[in-house]
């Protein structure tokens, strides 16, 4: 053991590979380990147990809270139950009912639009503001706090405020639109306008998160790279597209994925502002499932929608996760 170098001697077992990773020099002594391993096996086991018990509480919590709902969703989606009873086994009838329902496809379409606008809208705004802050606006830490507020404030508050601003013909924004000669604009009564309003609201709520992610990524870009680019005669646009964007690409990709998940699963932003209306125009899949269960009491169908979403999200997340990790190794 004494010959196996500092890293191996101090931290065998679970964390051995980390220290090896941190200190490439430790690699040379690895072949000598097996003999030493036997002597320290009780220590290895003890450290394994320590690591396991450190992570155990969170595993128990995560598994307990998620396992039952997943099991329940799997069972209920093939039964015609209500909130209180399981009901009869109906096979795949619920899924057939969903996949042939135009309402389902309309919600799926709106979910897609909402997610695409939510992700790229909030990213564009967040990126622009983060670039400005990085360029050194006076009082940037104050602006940073103020610009975070839409994300920080409870969604109930912002939805209340937005609905006060746009909901009825006598609200300030419709009044303003009328004064400017647009006639009577009903933001939440016209299907298309309601969709636009909900998407704008989502961008307003989410851009600070993107600004934070982008700021952190920009922070890690070396200023010397910019100086070198300027010496080579690159203009601002070239610097932005050739240097800034590629250097923050991976972090950008991760923030898109996270935001896409947030958008697909977002319930309060839509429900508190429009309730999914008018005529279901702003009903996303999550709102659709919620209404099936809590308004129409069709638990089986509602849960089946959720089940489809969950399966889809699990598949997509696993693929994306693998991709992020692979990119991390390169």
């Amino acid at each position: 053991m004494t010959t196996s170098g500092p890293a191996g001697a101090i931290a065998p077992g679970v964390i051995e590979s980390v220290t090896r990773h941190e200190h490439p020099g430790g690699d040379h002594s690895q072949p000598g380990l097996p003999g030493g391993m036997r002597r320290t096996s009780s220590r290895v086991r003890r450290e394994r147990i320590t690591m396991a018990s450190l992570v155990l509480p969170s595993i128990i919590l995560v598994v307990l809270i998620n396992a039952y709902p997943v099991f329940y969703a799997a069972v209920q989606s093939v039964h015609d139950g209500t909130l209180t009873s399981t009901g009869d086994f109906v096979g795949l009838d619920n899924f057939t009912a969903i996949l042939t329902s135009p309402d389902f496809w309309a919600s799926a379409r709106f979910t897609l639009v909402f997610t695409v606008v939510g992700v790229f809208g909030s990213w564009a705004v967040g990126l622009a503001l983060a670039l400005g802050l990085k360029a050194g606006v006076p009082g940037r830490s104050t602006f940073r706090v103020l610009l975070l507020l839409p994300w920080v404030v409870p969604i109930v508050v912002s939805a209340t405020s937005w609905s006060w601003m746009v909901a009825t013909p006598s609200s300030p924004v419709p009044q303003l639109a009328e004064a400017l000669g647009f006639g009577q604009v009903l933001f939440l009564a016209d299907p298309l306008l309601a969709q636009i309003t909900v998407c704008v609201f989502k961008v307003w709520v989410s851009f600070p998160f993107m600004m934070l992610m982008t700021s952190a990524a920009l922070e890690s870009v070396d200023d010397n790279v910019y100086q070198a680019a300027r010496m080579d005669g690159a203009n601002r646009w070239q610097t932005f597209t050739q240097i800034t964007l590629p250097m923050i690409a991976r972090s950008t990709y991760i923030s898109w994925i996270l935001m896409a998940i947030f958008c697909v699963n977002d319930f309060p932003t839509i429900f508190l502002l429009t309730g999914g209306g008018p005529v279901n125009a702003t009903t996303s899949l999550v709102v659709f499932a919620y209404k099936l269960v809590f308004t129409n009491f069709q638990t089986g169908i509602g849960v089946a929608v959720a089940f489809l979403m969950t399966v889809g999200l699990v598949i997509v997340s696993t693929i994306l996760y693998r991709q992020i990790r692979k990119a991390g190794i390169e």
Binding site: S58, R144, L148, L212, E219, I254, S317
Partner: protein, 291 residues
């Protein structure tokens, strides 16, 4: 990790984009300032309106101009103060439990490199993508059997669990920034793995802990969906649910609604104004990518 502590490091190099000659640069800075003032003001209009409306007198109170009367009314004549207490209790308990559970888990995610650890990391990512809306139904049925419906305890369990993925990533991201050599020194001195974690790592992780604490506080403080399903009696409501009932009762009188909204907004605003420099979500990217 720290995105704001270095406030003006970019000044000498001008952030690489604005600097050409000193005079042109300073005028560009003032234009930048003006632009940010306008943008920030526009962005904050909805929140400013809430404050302004909360300072207007209630209908039929006979007062004019701006007054704190509506806020006093809401705090003394309605149940808002009880809801405020409930919200505080739930949010603070969630914060403490989540940090206590997530910090050791984040340490394992940061330092461990076994197959089991990457498996758990993937599980956290998948779980993060589950739609909460749907989980609320089975959890309600489960918690009804356990007598956890309509209690702060039930809410706290769900909030801790639903913030667990991000909380673990945030802690792991911070631990990643602490060199392993620090623990190694402690191990040489005879410290155990656990001792090294508590005495060396945790001690040096205040910003990471604060970041995670702020995040989980926000999750619990801002939640509407779980609370509206799980809380049945008005006396147990948290502020977001309370505000909704209020709103239904007084659909036309916006004063008390907005006054309650102000009460609800203040804690997160105060937390951010005070602790802004510690808060960072940027590390999540690195920890997800398994640096």
């Amino acid at each position: 990790m720290s995105t704001t502590t270095r406030t003006s490091t970019s000044a000498p190099t001008g952030g690489g984009q604005l600097a050409v000659r000193p005079d042109r640069r300073s005028s560009a800075r003032w234009w930048g300032l003006a632009l940010y003032v306008v943008v920030t003001a526009v962005v904050l209009i909805p929140l400013i309106s809430v404050f302004v409306l909360a300072l207007r007198p209630r209908q039929g109170s006979g007062l004019t101009g701006y007054t704190l009367e509506t806020i006093t009314y809401v705090l003394t004549q309605t149940q808002s103060i009880i809801w405020l207490e409930n919200s505080m209790l739930v949010a603070l308990a969630t914060t403490v439990v989540a940090v206590v559970v997530a910090a050791p888990a984040g340490y394992v995610l940061s330092r461990g490199r076994s197959r089991a650890v990457s498996g758990y990391s993937l599980l956290l990512f998948i779980v993060q993508g589950f739609p909460v809306v749907v989980f609320v139904i089975p959890l309600f049925i489960l918690f009804a059997r356990l007598d956890l419906v309509d209690t702060p305890g039930g809410l706290i369990i769900i909030y801790v669990a639903s913030s667990m993925s991000v909380a673990c990533w945030m802690m792991a991201a911070y631990f990643d920034s602490i060199p392993v050599t620090l623990e190694e020194a402690a191990w040489i001195d005879g410290c155990s793995l656990f001792g090294g974690f508590v005495r060396v790592i945790l001690r040096n992780s205040l910003p990471g802990v604060l970041s995670t604490a702020i995040f989980t506080f926000l999750v619990a403080w801002n939640d509407y969906l779980v609370a509206v399903v799980f809380l049945r009696s008005t006396i147990n409501y948290t502020l977001p649910v309370g505000l909704q009932t209020f709103f239904q009762q007084n659909a036309t009188d916006w004063g008390p609604v907005m006054a309650t909204a102000v009460i609800m907004m203040l804690p997160p605003i105060i937390v951010f104004a005070a602790l802004n420099k510690y808060f960072s979500v940027g590390g999540i990217g690195g920890s997800l990518a398994g640096r």
